[in-house]
Amino acid sequence: MSSLVPDFDVQRVLVTPWTSDATMNGWIVLMGFLVATTCGWVGQYLLLRRMALMGDALSHSILPGLAGAFLIASFLNPGTADGAGNARGATVMYLGALAAALVTTLLIHWLHTASRVKQDAAIGIVFSGLFALGVILITVFADQVDLDADCVLYGEIGTVGFTDYFQLSGRDVAPLPVARMAIVALLTFAWIQLFYKELLVSSFDPGLASSLGIRANWVHGVLMLWLSVVIVSAFESVGAILVVAMLIVPGATASLLSTSLPRIFSLIVLHAAISSLFGLHLALWLDCSIAGAMVVTGCGLFVLAWLSHVIRVRRARHASLPQDAPPGTLASPSVTPNPP
C-alpha cells in the first residue's frame, strides 16, 4: 500500500521545495504558468473553431521537419564530427519543427477551405500523412542516428532552472526558456488585445466577419501561424503533454464557469496558476513527472468546474420554477460573444 503511494510528508512535499530548492521550483511553476496561460489563450480560439486537437496533431506532424532539418544540416556540413553533431542540435531541430508546423497548419487550412473535407478530418489527414512521411524519411535516410521528437526536440519542464540564463548587464535574470516563453506570452496577450474584435467575430461567424470588412481568412491564417510558433516553442521547453493538454483544458474549464470571453481569459490565467502550483506539489508528493502532474491537476479543476456547472444549472432550474428567477443565472451551453 504505502510503497505504491508515498506518504504525504509535509516537510518533503510542502516545506523543502520552498526552502532549499526554492529557486528551481519557482522557475518550474512560473514556466508551467506561462505555458498554460499562453496555450490556454490561443487554445480558446481553437476551441471556438472546433480545432482543439491541433496541438496533438502538431506534436506528430513535426517529425518530417526534424528529419528534413537533420538531412539539410548534415548535407551543408558534411564530414566533420562537429558539423554533423550540430545537425541534431537544438536550434536546427527547432527550426525544422517550426517549418513543419507552419506547413501543417497551412495545409489543414487549405484542405479545409478548398474542399468539402471538414476541419477535423483535414487535421487527421494532414498530421497522419506528415507523420508517416517523417517515419519514411527517417528509415530511408537517417536510420543510423537516433532521431525522434522525444529525443531531440521535447524539453522537460523540471530542468528549466538548470538551463542557461538570460543576462542583463552581467546579471542572471531568468532561465532562457522562461524568458522566451514570457516574451511569447506577452506577444500573445498584445495580439489578442489588438485584434480582439477581428478574432472574435471571425471565430463565431465568418460570414458576419466578411460583411464587416474583416478578412476572416487572413485572421484565421495569422492565428494558425502564431499557433505554430507558440506550440513549437512550448514543445522545445516543456515537452508535448503539457502543451497538448493546456491548449484545451484551461479554455474548456473556463467556458463552463463563464460565458463572457474576457472573463474566460481571466479564468484561464487563474486555472494556469492553480494547475502549475498544485501540479508541482502533486509531482513532489508522488515523485512523478511534473508535466503530467500539472495536466492531471488541470483536469481535476475541469471536473470541479463541471460539477459546479451541473449544480448551478440544477439550482437555476429550481429557482425558476416558483416565481422570479434572476435573469442571467441560467447557464447557457455555449459561449456568447458579449459579456452579460
Partner: protein
C-alpha cells in the same frame, strides 16, 4: 451569501499552509558524498568506484529505455542538489546531455564517462560519422576506460577519499580485465560460422567487435520507426542461410519483432539480453554453475555472454 463561508475556509487553509511552510532548520549528520547518475550502467560504475563514501542515485530505473525516459520531480531535486552528476555522453541521453553539459559550463561538476574513450576506438556507421554509437559498455575494455574520469571527479569532490577511490578503481580495472578474458574464452567455444548475434535494436556493435560476433539488428537505433517488413525478411533469410540457432530479445525493447523472426525462420529465442539498462539490483541469475547479480555490470555482461554462448553453440 453562499460564497462567504467558502472564502473563509480557503483563507484558513492558506494560513495553515503558510504556517507549515516556516523553515525548520534541522540539519542531519555529515552525509556521504551525494551524486547522481543518469543510467543504471553509469550508476553501477560510480557505486563500484565510490564504495561507502558515495551515495549514488540513478535517474533511470532498471529496464528503462534511455530514449523514453521521463523525469520525475524527485529526479529534479536530486539533480539540483547532487555534488557530481555522471552521465554516459555520446548523445545517449539525448537532449538531457546538452542540458548537463551546459550545467557543467555554469560551474556544476558534471562528468561524461564515455568522453574518456579515445575517438578512434568508437564505432561510426556509414553516413553518420558525426554520431558515434553510444553503447560502449558492450566491450569491457572500453568500459574500463571510463573508470578513470569517475575516480578523478570523486577525488576532486572528496579529497579525503582519494586513496580509497584509487584502490577501488584499480581493483575494478583488474576485475573488468578478468571478465574480458573470461568472455573471450567463453565466446570462443562457439564455432566461427555460427557467431551471429541477432537482436532487436542496434546496441551490441561493441560487444560484437570485442568478441568477433557478426551483429545484426532488426531495427535501427531510433525507436520511433518500427521494423520494416523488408528488415524482418532480410534478417529471417540470414537466419536460414547461415543456420543461426537462436535470436535474442532485449530487456528494454518490446520482443514482438524478434519472436516473429524466430517463428518465420525457425530459430529459437535464445534469451533476454540486457542492452541499455541493467536488471534490478539483487536479481540473481544462474548459468554455467555460477550465480550473479544482473543488477551490476559484471553480472549483466556475464549473463549476456552466457546466454549467447549457450544458445549459439
Amino acid at each position: 451569501m453562499h460564497r462567504l463561508p467558502t472564502f473563509a475556509h480557503a483563507f484558513t487553509c492558506l494560513a495553515l499552509l503558510l504556517g507549515f511552510c516556516l523553515p525548520t532548520g534541522a540539519a542531519s549528520a555529515v552525509p556521504p558524498l551525494r551524486v547522481v547518475a543518469t543510467t543504471t550502467l553509469v550508476a553501477d560504475l560510480v557505486r563500484v568506484v565510490g564504495g561507502d563514501r558515495v551515495q549514488v542515485q540513478s535517474l533511470m530505473g532498471p529496464g528503462v529505455d534511455p530514449h523514453l525516459y521521463k523525469a520525475s520531480a524527485g529526479d529534479m531535486s536530486a539533480l539540483g542538489s547532487a555534488r557530481v552528476i555522471f552521465f554516459t555522453g555520446l548523445k545517449l541521453e539525448g537532449r538531457m546531455e546538452d542540458l548537463l553539459r551546459r550545467m557543467g559550463q555554469r560551474g556544476r561538476q558534471v562528468v561524461a564517462v564515455a568522453d574518456a574513450i579515445p575517438s578512434d576506438q568508437l564505432l561510426r556507421k556509414e553516413g553518420a560519422e558525426g554520431h558515434p554509437d553510444p553503447h560502449v559498455w558492450g566491450d569491457p575494455r572500453l568500459w574500463s576506460l571510463a573508470i578513470t574520469p569517475v575516480r578523478d571527479s570523486l577525488t576532486a569532490a572528496d579529497p579525503e577519499g582519494a586513496a580509497a577511490y584509487a584502490a577501488r578503481a584499480a581493483a575494478y580495472r583488474t576485475q573488468l580485465d578478468t571478465l574480458h578474458q573470461w568472455a573471450a574464452s567463453r565466446i570462443a567455444t562457439i564455432p566461427k560460422p555460427q557467431r551471429v548475434l541477432i537482436t532487436s535494436h542496434d546496441a551490441f556493435a561493441y560487444f560484437g567487435r570485442a568478441y568477433e560476433l557478426d551483429v545484426v539488428a532488426v531495427q535501427g537505433i531510433s525507436t520511433v520507426a518500427e521494423a520494416g517488413l523488408a528488415d524482418i525478411t532480410r534478417v529471417a533469410d540470414l537466419v536460414k542461410q547461415r543456420g543461426v540457432k537462436a535470436v535474442f530479445v532485449e530487456s528494454s525493447v518490446p520482443p514482438g519483432t524478434i519472436q516473429r523472426i524466430s517463428k518465420d525462420a525457425g530459430a529459437r529465442v535464445g534469451g533476454e539480453l540486457f542492452s541499455d539498462a541493467l536488471g534490478t539490483p539483487g536479481e540473481m541469475h544462474e548459468a554455467g554453475g555460477e550465480r550473479y547479480d544482473v543488477g551490476t555490470y559484471l553480472g549483466m555482461l556475464k549473463h549476456n555472454v552466457n546466454s549467447v554462448a549457450d544458445a549459439l553453440r
